[in-house]
Symmetry: C2
Subunit: 184 residues, 2 copies
DNA sequence: TCATAATACTCTAGTGATAGAGTACTCTAC
DNA sequence: GTAGAGTACTCTATCACTAGAGTATTATGA
């Protein structure tokens, strides 16, 4: 099961939901960052999950504003699949930031000046993300324990990246100087 | 450009290579872990890169063992694309271990005992990975600076996860006890 | 009452990726 | 001289995903 499928299955398992609502929840909870799901994929994924027999749907006539909607509910098989897949995701093994590793693998072919500039840019992104996480953290009082854990996990990971960058960027800068020395 | 494309483009940029050779290099350098490329995708990706005008190919008659091979070389446009994409990958922003975050998001629906078992399993995976990285680190003497950096990056990230797990698992265990108390 | 905004999908066409089976050639060892 | 291992693809069928345009319904305010 992909991240996207598991995320949507999880939302339907929480409570019966229709597609448009899922779109909104993804937005509210800032889930797009990790479950990467485009708008048009939601309906595609819902029908896929239904075909698998994990969720079932029912039309609900128009009520309040907007037209009728198709509401999806979890089925026992879906509940089981969700449970197993969530445990699997929690038991790993995972891999951090593969895009950045691909970049690192290419470093020998990059001019040191450019590399340093890119890493500084990366550092700025990390700082931004740290602020985002801390704001969200402080904004939410009386968090359930698991959410505390998620914030801590992200905050720790980001801080570690920041530390690494602060040790590594100067080393790379000194390489530039050495090169200049050789050029003399 | 996807991770997979960038990784292969990078290998061709290093030196002209044929498909089967790329397969072997991916294996040797343990690149499958982050650039996730199946065997059958290599030829597909190579022809895709060629269509884009980033690499060109030439048949090389059989020499030594094995039949004739199609050797791919980087073109100027490909060199540029590789350079830009590598800088982009280095300047982020990246995202750590999304699968694990999806798992964490599902925690409220998981029985604490199961969650603790899964997290312990995850901890075991992290330990294994730490050992792998440290072995590879010690195995390679006189590393170029950039490789040092990659090892450090991975090692730091893994150590941070381990620390988090060691703080977080006990908290979760105490929740189990509280629940037991309530059950009385 | 009529335009606008918001709700809630639906459809099509296209790209991307992969498994797995099949083909063919060359060297080595017996 | 031939069986087997290793080299090096090639092809087909299928699944996965996404952008973007289109459709239809209801509430709201001027």
């Amino acid at each position: 099961m992909t991240n996207a499928e598991l995320a949507i299955l999880g939302l339907v398992a929480e409570t019966p939901r229709h597609g448009y609502e899922i779109e909104q929840v993804l937005e509210q909870r800032n889930m797009r960052r990790w479950a990467d799901i485009g708008f048009s994929s939601i309906y595609y994924l819902l029908s896929k999950l239904e075909k698998k027999g994990w969720i079932s749907s029912q039309m609900q006539p128009a009520q309040g504003k907007g037209p009728a909607r198709r509401v999806y509910s979890i089925l026992p098989a879906g509940q089981q699949a969700w449970y197993q897949a969530t445990l699997a995701a929690l038991s790993g093994p995972g891999q951090a930031n593969t895009a950045f590793l691909v970049g690192l693998a290419g470093l020998p072919g990059i001019r040191p000046q450019d590399a340093v500039a890119a890493l500084r840019q990366y550092r700025r992104h990390v700082l931004e993300r740290i602020q985002e996480v801390e704001q969200a953290w402080q904004g939410a009082e009386n968090l359930p324990a698991f959410l505390q854990g998620m914030f801590e996990y992200s905050a720790n990971a980001l801080q570690t990246e920041l530390d690494w960058l602060d040790r590594y960027i100067p080393r790379f800068e000194s390489q530039i100087t050495e090169q200049d020395d050789e050029d003399l």
